[in-house]
Structures are given as C-alpha cells and as structure tokens.
C-alpha cells in the first residue's frame, strides 16, 4: 500500500487548519503597509478586522475568545492607531460574537452581515475617538464614515473569501 498517498477518511493537515485563519488575518492587517499608497484619508477598509470578524462569524468555535489579544496587537502595530486599541476592541468583538451566537441559534447570511457591519462600524468609530481624544467628535465620525460605509458593503465579500479559505483549510490531501 502506498503510504505517501492520501488515505481514505484522513483529516486535513492539523497545521494548515490552525495556520490558515491566523495567517490570513495577519497578512490582511499588514497588507496596507506593503502597498505603495500614500493615503490622505482613511481610504482602505480595515482588511484585518474584516477577516477577523468573518472567521468568527463562520467558525464561532474555532478560536478561543481571547484570540483578539495577539491578533489585535499585531494589527495595532500596522494600523497607526495607538497600541492597545485593537487589542481591546477586537476582544470585545469576539465576546459580542460569542454572545450573539448563543442568542441567535440559527444564524443566516443577513444575521452575519448585520453583526459584522455593526461591529465594524462601532470598532472603527471608537478607534478614531481613542486615537484623537482632543478632536471634535462630529468631525472624527465624519472622517471615518465613508470608510465604514465601504467596509459594511464589503462584509459579504469577505464572508465569501473566508469561506474559500475555509474550504482550503479543511481540504483533504
């Protein structure tokens, strides 16, 4: 019998199952600083956050609820927001998703979109307020509002992308 070939009923690689979600979030967080784009306003949606929320909406039990601590710290290093912002807000989002998944027993596509959109809006707004505590609140919210709208519209796309990554993650050899 050929031992190197795929065996019937063999599960996917354990390493790949663990690494794919974390790597996708980390890469998405660092991606804006790899593009040759000097932005004059927050133009890109928070890619790392969108992947983070999508993974949790798709696989609620995959990560422990504290996974926002390391991944948020990584995002803070690249986003420009004061270090600790995403640590706190992403973890709060994890807890919120865990709570929502207990309250809404069978979540559908629109539930996922609504939860993701709400969390993205809250996190981006609060992060801006934390970053500039002395600035006028209305103006800050006006600054991040276009980004929030774009992010909310992109949530379904990121859910789809995460689904594709999930298929790859669980693909048997």
């Amino acid at each position: 019998m050929n031992q190197r070939g795929p065996r019937l009923g063999e599960p996917a690689s354990r390493w790949r199952m663990r690494i794919v979600p974390i790597a996708s979030v980390m890469l998405a967080s660092a991606l804006p600083l790899m593009l040759p784009l000097v932005a004059s306003s927050p133009v890109l949606p928070p890619l790392g956050l969108l992947f983070f929320l999508s993974w949790q909406l798709l696989r609620t039990e995959m990560w422990p609820v504290w996974i926002g601590l390391p991944l948020g710290l990584w995002d803070d290093l690249f986003s420009g927001a004061p270090i600790g912002t995403a640590v706190a807000l992403w973890t709060a989002a994890s807890i919120a998703i865990a709570y929502a998944s207990q309250r809404i027993y069978w979540r559908g596509f629109f539930h996922d979109w609504a939860i993701g959109a709400l969390l993205v809006a809250i996190i981006q707004a609060v992060a801006a307020l934390l970053t500039h505590p002395h600035a006028a609140t209305g103006r800050l919210l006006g600054l991040v509002a276009p980004q929030i709208v774009v992010s909310v519209l992109l949530v379904p796309l990121f859910l789809r992308l995460t689904g594709k990554f999930d298929n790859f993650r669980l693909k048997r050899r």
Binding site: S40, P42, P64, G80, V87, T91, W106, H132, R139, L143
Partner: protein, 301 residues
Amino acid sequence: MVRPAHRRPGQSRKAQYSLFVAYVIAVTGAVAGLLLAVLSVVDPVGFAQLRVASHEVTAPIARASRSVIGSISGIDDAVSAYVGAGSQNRRLRKELAETRRQLVATSSLQEENRQLKALLKLQEADKTAIANGYLLTSTSTSSKRIALLSIGRNLGVAAGQPVRGADGLIGRVLGSGPSVSQVLLITDIDNIVPVRRARDGLPALAYGRGNGDLDIRTLNIANNPFKPGDILVTSGTGGLYPPNIPVAIVVRRQDDGALARPLADPAKVDAVSVLRPYTPENAEAQLAPPPDAVPEVPKAP
C-alpha cells in the same frame, strides 16, 4: 446557514473551567489593552520603537511593490478631482491671473531683497538637508496619517526632524528605525504647524483635518482676514520647522479661519528631504551638531 455553537460545556468540569478561564483572559486582556491605548496616546514616544520595528519587516515588500507598481497617487484625490473639475477650472483661471499680477510685483521685490541682503551680508541659515529619501507607503486604514520614509538612522534621521518635498512641507519624523522612519504628515489631526501668510506675515496655526486638508486659524479671533489663494509658509515659531517653507494655499474661508490645501501632496511627491530641526543653535551656527532634545510643536493657545 451557520451551525449553532456548542458553547455549553456540559457536565465536564475541565471543559467548564477552560471556557471560564478563556473569558477571564479575554476580559482582563481587553481592559489591559484599553489602558495601553490610553497610555500610548499620552506617551506616543514610548511605543514608537515597537511600531518602527514592525515596519522594518514590511518595508522590503513596500520597496519592492513600489518599484514594480510605482506610487499610487491618492485614489480619493483622483475621484474628488474628477467631481470638482468644472469649478476647479474656473478657480484656477482666476488664480492664474492673480498670480501673474503678483509675479510682477514679486520680481521687483526680489531684486530689492537681493541688493539689501548683499548690503547686510546676511548669513543664510543652514538649509541643507540631512538626507533625502522617498515616501514608501502610509497607514491607510486608520484615522492616523503616518507615512513610511525609506531612510532611517543609517542616514542620520531622528525623531523631531522636519520633512519637506520640493513643493512644501510634508511633516515631521515621529520615530526612526535602522533603515526606515515614520513621518507624521501635516494633515494628521494631531499635527499643528505654526505658519504665517507669505504676503504680509500674518501669524496663524495650521491644524490637520485628517482628510488631506488643513484648518487655518488666526491667533486673533476678531477678524477673518483670509482670502482664497493666500499662500502660507512656516513661521519658525516654536522652533521645529525652519521658517519660509511653503505649507498650504487657502481654498475658502470658514467661520473660524480658513480651509487650506497643502502645497506638497504626499501622495505625489517623489523625493523628500529631512531637514535639521529649527533651534537657535541650528539657526545661528551652520555646522552645529543636531541637538539631542528636540522641542515639541507648541499646542494651540
């Protein structure tokens, strides 16, 4: 349809404890993160090194992608330019006529100035740059406007040095790593530049708006003397930015000052120079070594 979560651990003590511990870690971590965020807003210098170190990791990729693609000049800028093309054309034509008239006046002044300077044998302050580099990339997902400069401590770049492009002021160095450094752009909400009107030396302060524009506020609240087309240059007050670097052009008047557009667009500049911070020693002695302590930008009165 998402499968419902099996959050309830059932009868197993071990499972119950591990779930409880996960929540305890998450909540304490989130609270600690919030404290850390407040701390790093109050003292941004302490965490700058950590961030620069992480940017050293992505810098090689940014360099490579920049050399392949070239610099993507502000997407949002291109869109708004398309929308405002008509009114912009009208405004520019008016500005051109105005500028022609001023140019005639300026050329005579320039000649007079040259003669006076020759008489006084005024020493030009040291305006030579410490080093030249280019902007690699910037933060684009948060409300903070920090750009990454392609040079660092290897070429003498240190925190607090002003950065300018050919057209005008870009910002100041926030922190420097071995081969890259961070530049806080003048359009950032937390960046305040002391400026004066080029025409008559009227002092004002330029506040970043965070969306690429600047708010200009005079120190004198009573009247609003700004007109569209006014050029603002650094005044040298506060001792960080050397005087007479072009900063912005006034676009329109507002209730409490004016709205201005930076003359140097960081998305479009190719090369930038890092200058010596403007301190009394640097202004007087040409060959003075850069001081260790750099004064902060003064807060608004």
